[in-house]
């Protein structure tokens, strides 16, 4: 997306963000024991400033109908989407599948997404990383990470 266009959408989003904080700050109690200025003032002011800045950016983005140096960068959408989905899956299953299994799955899928092939080598790297981190953190440093799922252990 071109920066000018992005700025226009972004300015609207930021203005909405500012407005949300501005409006919601009115629901916070106005005065509090121990301070003359209640906890609502600071977010209220900031929300206002953010809206004003967004308006400024919106106007700037209208003015700048600049010829954007449009490098037709070839985006690697496919591998990005795979890695992103894998990350979300990873975050969602880390507690269910345990650290080792979820990390291994994530790394293996991502390695393949980056560059297909070398199934065995990628598997070994993914497995080594998962076990190494788990061993170092849980066994040596006595931290806690989700272990193996119950139905496996």
């Amino acid at each position: 997306m071109q920066t000018g266009k992005f700025d226009r959408y972004a300015s609207i989003l930021f203005a909405l963000l500012g407005a949300t904080f501005l409006i919601e700050s009115r629901n916070i109690s106005k005065s509090a024991y121990g301070s003359e200025v209640g906890p609502n003032v600071f977010p209220f002011l900031l929300g206002l400033i953010l809206i004003l800045l967004s308006v400024k950016l919106f106007l700037e983005s209208l003015k700048n109908i600049q010829k954007e140096k449009k490098k037709t960068d070839e985006l690697q959408i496919k591998r990005f989407v795979i890695i992103l989905l894998a990350s979300i899956f990873y975050a969602g299953t880390i507690e269910m599948l345990g650290y080792i299994i979820s990390t291994f799955l994530f790394l293996y899928v991502s390695f393949q997404a980056m560059e297909r092939g070398s199934w065995i080598k990628n598997g070994i790297v993914a497995l080594a990383f998962s076990f190494f981190v788990y061993f170092l953190f849980v066994v040596v440093l006595e931290g806690s990470l989700p272990g193996m799922p119950i139905w496996l252990s």
Partner: protein
């Protein structure tokens, strides 16, 4: 006790075996971070906070804070050493503060003098590191003495100045920089209000009561943002890595670079102390000024060793200088120092004037460890430069997913909630999109770190003045800071109106 006694105590702390180990790990990882293109000092430090937090989990809080800050600071200045390696060997700067080094460094490598360039860069960095630490030792006490006299009004204005400085220099559009700052400040208001105990913007969701964790936001925006960018954009065909060759510089090289190293160190130090102006700006300025005073400026750009020595000394001195406002005033002047500050706060150690009286072991231990760390870096970088050059060849296909995995591990190990993992990925996406469209990230993180303190000081000042906002202008020191902030915003604006190019800080 005098400064020397404190420093000696600092050395006692820094020379404990585990702290030497932490310093070593820090500078080692820092050098690797500097060498690897794609991970800058900011994401490197952010990524390592959770790792150090787990390493130090068994110690008592103060010792844990000391050890982690020793490691994290080591990453910061270690990256300044490592950044030169890729600039010289590959013509690709490892991080933005080494961009100018490519101009002459790569030319030298082409002429077969890569080894000399690398070792001069290391020697220059070492000298600059020592200069900046001595500056830190000398300035720490008087500055924190002065800052102890500040009231809430002064602090509020000083922090505003810090924000103004970083936002004003943060990138192409000042509007965008300010928007990021304000967004950071707004995000910081989520959670329980420290003054009144009222929950704000939490909507009774338990995970929100503590606010959005600084660590999650920083790792997401910096580390994941950069990974997403590298995944999406096809990497260019990497140029061939130049041969390192003879490492020991010749006597002529030494003679030619001695002056630039000394000048670069002092210039870089003073630029580093200024909030907002970081290592990148320091390296640019020192290169330009060396070229100006040189007897044969036509040699610059064609492999002049002064063109490597000056900016590499300057960026390292600046990274040391940047520790001064952080440690003595509690004001981070750049993105990386903001992250260091966030790390200290995680350990309940508040940087600022009280740091030197409340936690002398942390402050002086860190300073002493910087001496040791710089020495280690010099030793590491001279003979091992060929080994580090090999790191460049780490295949991206392993590196990128592993960075994601380390981020997830770090955030989960500290926060132990899946919510933070989703937040991490969300901020990673936001970080990529924002950075891609020239929205600087550093001001957002700075706002997030400084937010609670700015608010508290503002409200405390207003409480003493019965809600009168004039209190910030009536106190002379506070008014002075406010005038400085306004000037900091206005001067670039006026210069731009006049059509002049304003040097901006890409590193933040």
């Amino acid at each position: 006790m005098g400064v020397m006694d404190f420093l000696m105590q600092g050395f006692q702390t820094a020379l404990q075996p585990h702290n030497i180990f932490f310093a070593f790990i820090g500078v080692l990882i820092g050098t690797a971070v500097g060498v690897l293109p794609g991970i800058g000092p900011m994401s490197g430090v952010a990524l390592l906070i959770p790792v150090t937090a787990t390493f130090t989990s068994g110690m008592d809080p103060s010792a844990a804070a000391t050890s982690s800050i020793i490691l994290l600071a080591g990453v910061y200045y270690g990256a300044m050493y490592g950044g030169s390696t890729t600039s010289i060997l590959l013509n690709t700067p490892g991080e933005s503060s080494s961009v100018v080094t490519t101009l002459d460094g790569y030319q030298m490598a082409k002429q077969g003098r890569a080894g000399a360039a690398l070792s001069i860069a290391a020697i220059g960095s070492f000298f600059a590191g020592i200069v900046s630490i001595i500056g830190l030792v000398l300035l720490a006490d008087p500055l924190s003495e002065m800052a102890l006299k500040f009231g809430p009004a002064e602090y509020f204005s000083l922090m505003l100045l810090g924000l103004a400085a970083v936002s004003g220099l943060a990138g192409g559009s000042i509007t965008k920089a300010w928007m990021m700052t304000v967004t950071g400040l707004l995000i910081a208001t989520i959670g329980i209000d420290a003054v009144s105990g009222v929950a704000r913007f939490t909507y009774d969701i338990p995970v929100l009561f503590g606010g959005l964790e600084f660590l999650t936001v920083a790792v997401g925006l910096f580390a994941l943002g950069e990974v997403f960018k590298t995944v999406l954009h096809k990497e260019e065909d990497t140029e061939k890595v130049a041969k390192v060759g003879r490492v020991i510089p010749s006597r002529a090289d030494f003679k030619e670079s001695a002056g630039p190293i000394v000048r670069g160190s002092f210039l870089g130090f003073f630029i580093g102390v200024l909030p907002g102006a970081g290592a990148t700006l320091a390296s640019f300025f020192s290169y330009i000024s060396e070229k100006k005073i040189s007897k044969n400026p036509e040699k610059f750009g064609k492999g002049a060793i002064a063109g490597v020595a000056a900016p590499e000394s300057a960026n390292n001195a600046a990274s040391g200088g940047a520790m001064i406002p952080l440690l003595t005033l509690g004001i981070p002047g750049s993105g990386t120092t903001a992250i260091l500050m966030g790390a200290l706060i995680m350990y309940n150690v508040q940087p600022g004037p009280l740091l030197f009286s409340d936690h002398p072991d942390v402050a002086w231990g860190l300073i002493a460890s910087m001496f040791i760390g710089n020495l280690m870096l010099l030793i590491l970088n001279m003979p091992l430069v060929k080994v580090f050059a090999k790191i460049i060849e780490t295949p991206a296909k392993y590196l990128l997913p592993i960075i994601i995995a380390i981020s997830v591990f770090g955030v989960y190990a500290v926060q132990v909630t899946t919510f933070d993992l989703f937040l991490l990925i969300g901020f990673g996406l936001a970080g990529y999109l924002l950075a891609q469209h020239d929205y600087p990230i550093a001001p957002l993180v700075l706002g997030l770190v400084l937010g609670p303190m700015i608010e508290n000081n503002m409200r405390r000042a207003l409480t003493t003045s019965n809600g009168d906002f004039m209190v910030f202008v009536q106190q002379p020191i506070s008014a002075f800071f406010l005038v400085c902030s306004v000037l900091w915003i206005l001067i670039p604006f006026v210069l731009r109106l006049k059509g002049k190019n304003v040097v901006v800080n890409v590193e933040g």
